[in-house]
Structure formats: C-alpha cells, structure tokens
C-alpha cells in the first residue's frame, strides 16, 4: 500500500468539491472538535425534523482527510433517521479502528469505504474521525438519543 492508494479518488473529489458544507439556520446541537496535533478543526451542527430525520451542517479547515470525511459524512447522514445515522457512524468508526483489515460494507458506508486505506495510518485516523466525533457530540448536545452517549472522546 502506498500513499496514492490511500488518497482514493473519492476522497480527493470530496476534498476539492465538498458537499453540503454550510451551517444550519436553527441547530439543536453543535460541536466544535479539534485535532490538537495538527490543528484540524471542524464544527458540526444537527437538527431533527418533525419526521425524526437528521439534518447536518458543518464547517472546518484542515487536511484533505478531515475535510473529505466531513463532506462524506454530511452527504451520507443528511436526512437519515437517527438510528440509521448512528449505524453509519458506528460502521465508520469501526472501519477506522480496523487497521485496514476487514471488509467495510459499502451498502452501509457508501463513499465512506474510500477511507479504509486511511485506517493504516494512525496519525490520520484522528483526521478521518474528527467530523464523526463532532456529529456524535452534537447529537448528545441536541439531546438526540444515540447508542453511546458520552463515549465521544
């Protein structure tokens, strides 16, 4: 595995053309997360609509991995119901802790599977996880139930 394999096309594409990058009008919860090692920053906001669907806004600055991950996250969970969004997040976190072994489920993770290579680089795992940690924390702050409140650090 070399570096070019880690930076899959999908990642570069999300990095250069981020999807859904905006802040919400009336967020119910917001979380600012930072990677103290490199200064990557991301703010994630959430709101749940009357039908129980999650709406996500974000902003940030940082490396290709953290910013592409935020874009992928927003694209995937936007409009999902909470249980499904949680499932996606769990799957993503698990993949990132897999050290690059295992077979990520494309049905669950969609473009997220592109990050499997990143899991081989411990220093970058934090980058990829940053927006997802922010999502979880924002949900907690919004009082939107999630399977693992408080485990967000």
């Amino acid at each position: 595995m070399n570096v070019e394999a880690m930076y899959q096309e999908i990642i570069l594409d999300h990095y250069k053309h981020p999807r859904g990058r905006h802040l919400l009008d009336a967020p119910e919860g917001e979380s600012y997360q930072v990677n103290p090692t490199c200064g990557d920053e991301v703010t994630v906001q959430v709101r749940r609509d009357a039908e129980g669907h999650l709406h996500v806004g974000y902003e940030g600055q940082g490396c290709s991995i953290s910013q592409a991950s935020a874009s992928v996250m927003s694209e995937m969970v936007e409009g999902m119901d909470v249980a499904n969004a949680d499932a996606v997040r769990h799957a993503f976190v698990e993949m990132m802790h897999s050290k690059g072994a295992g077979e990520p489920d494309e049905d669950v993770l969609g473009d997220g599977v592109a990050f499997i290579g990143v899991a081989k680089y411990p220093a970058r795992i934090k980058c990829a996880l940053l927006p997802w940690m922010a999502l979880q924390d924002a949900q907690v702050k919004a009082g939107i139930p999630s399977g693992e409140e408080g485990a967000g650090r």
Partner: protein
Amino acid sequence: MSNDLDVERIRQDFPILTRTVRDERPLVYLDSAATSQKPIEVLEAEAHFYRTCNASVHRGAHQLAEEATDAYEDARRRIAGFVGAADSDIVFTKNATESLNLASYAFSNATAKALHAPDSVDPRFVLRPGDSIVVSQMEHHANLVPWQEVCAKTGATLRWIGVDDEGRLELDSLDTIIDASTRVVSVVHQSNILGTINPVAEVMQRAHEVGAVGIVDACQSIPHMPVRVEELGADLVAWSGHKMLGPTGIGVLWGSREVLKEMPPFITGGSMIETVFMDHSTYAEPPKRFEAGTPMVAQAVGLAAAVEYLERLGMDAVARHEHDLTVYALDRLREMRGVRIIGPTDAKERGSAISFVVDGLHPHDVGQFLDDRGVAVRVGHHCAWPTCRRFDVPATTRLSSYIYNDTRDIDVAITGIRAAQDFFGV
C-alpha cells in the same frame, strides 16, 4: 526453603549480581526497597526502542512516530494490566515523588486559581484554613513534605495517624483524626522503613465517608505483591518503576476516571493541551493532561518489560518468596542479642523491608561492616525521619530483599552484624 522462585535462575538475568565489591567480596544486594536491580530484558527493551523506532510520540505523522507512539501506549496498556487498571487511568511521571506531587498540586493549584476565578476549578480541590489533610506517622518524605507544602500554601492543617510500638497504624483514632474537616487522606500501603502493610482500604473508606479524596502511596507494595489498584479503595495511587525492576526516571499515578477528569493540570506545556492561544489554553483529557512535554518513552517501554518479567514469575509467587525470606530474616534477627527490630516483629501483614538497631552501635557503623562483607543495605532515616523520631532512634539499618535474594544473603548479613558487635565490643 521456598520453591516459589528459582532464585539461581533469576540471578542469571541480573548481570550486576555477579560482580564483587570491596576486597573481592561477592555482592549481596539487600537494598531493593531503595531501588531494585534490572534484568537484561529491561535494558534490552529500552535499547531496542532506541535502535528501531525512537521518535517523538503523539505528534509525528511518519512511520517512526507511529511506532514510537504504539510502543509508548502499549507500555501503558501493559502496566495498566499489571495492576488491573484501564490504560486511560494511568499517568506516567518521572517517579513516585512526582506522582504524589501531581496529586498534592491539584489542591494548591485549584486553591490559587479559585482566588481569581472560583468557577474555573472543581471545589473539591479548593482548600481553606480549617480544612485538614491527613497522613500517617510512617510516611516517606515523598508523601509528607508535599502535604506540608499544600498546607503552607492554602492554610489547611496537617494531621496524622499515629504509629504504635509494634509499628502499626493507630486505627482506633481513625474516626477522630479523619473528620468532617478532612479533605485529603494520603497513606502508605507498605512502609519502606517499618515494613508494615497497612489496611489502606479501611482508611480510604473512612476518607470517603467524610468526602475526602483518598490517596495511597503504593511504592513498596506494587513491586512486591499482587495489587489491583481498584481494591485499594483510593482515588489516586502512586508508585515508581525503578523499585520493580524498571528503569530509573519513570513513575506512575493511577487515578479513578472521575477524579482525574476534574483534577487541574500540574506540569503544563506541550502535549497536554487541547487549544492554545497567547492568553489562554484549554486542556486535554487525562491521562494526557498530566503528561506535559516529551515523555519518558524508552523508560515506559523498559517498565513494561519489567512488568512482563514479574508477570512471568507471578506476583503471588513473588509475594510468597519474600514472605518466606522475611520470616527467615526476622527469626535470625530476633535470635541475636542487642538487636531491636523497628517495625512489626512477626511476618504477618508485613513486607520484606526490615529495619533494626543494634545496642551500642550506630547504624552507620553497622552498615560499614556489612559493606565490608559485600552486603549492600541502607542505613539512615530512609526518608522517614519522623518515623525514626517516633521510635526514638536517629536512624536504622535496613535489610530489604527481592526476587533475586535467598536465605544465604540474610546469613551473610547476620554474620556482618555480629562482626560489628564483636569489633565494637558491644
């Protein structure tokens, strides 16, 4: 005697034990309560780290830095495992003294900050005149002087649990000494001068009854017996690596998650922060919050190797072996005329550090005769000067054994004591 440990086999792992001292006398090392010797594995683990993956941890994005970080965090995990703890509750320090200062500074730092910004700190660490801090009369200076300092900085009062003639804590007074004014209780698990093993869980329970933070100095217990930190009932537990086959320059503070989380930082700087601006900063979660600067990476790796060595022997076997040696040494010493043991005279609830005085002989002179016979023991107040005063002795001579000692070592020591008595005609 004991078959718990194969001492001959073990001694082969400790090159220093084959050397001679003075006039070609084989070294008899009975000073492990001061610092233990190190098996080759520990030296090799350190050297291996430097030769293969030395780099800055937690900061770099290159392969070396990844490997160094893994080595450091693996070490944390293995050391945590040794005491039945979660790795995120293990803080690395340079020695037990720093660990205990880290604990004590939580109080003086919070108190000082509260003067200017009361809401910036957890009130449980803020002390006021009228508050009391409780230690015992058998503390090592490392668990006494820092609390004297906290008192000088906050106006709190230091109290202590007395020690009886047998060298046991006077627990009858526990409920009066530890009272509603008490904010901290910090006691030693096993005394380095008396050898006494204290029922710390009982003391910690009383501390918690009155809402005090409970701290245990486990410097002399964790190297010598199986200890699961949580069973001590404390909020914080401190110990050193160098007394348990590990390198110099590394110590540990274990803390309950809940207390660590609220503790203000001690040493501040890089790696312990979350964000830094010119005029303010926010701090990382434990354990990082307490590990400022470039850590003792190679030493953590060395200590992990030490822990593996001890696990291979089995801490139960280590404790039994030391117990047998203690029984033997106490018997030999009790047989001698003019020898007074300072500390429990029987081996129950006591470790292998045995202090004694010899009528008519100063400990320094006893030590000199032992040294002359190749026996390395410690003489002096053993950093427990108030304990010496309690027993009205200026100092003691202390034999302390470990996994590489056997009864022959004790015999050589006994012969040396006799020689000193003969020479001085006492």
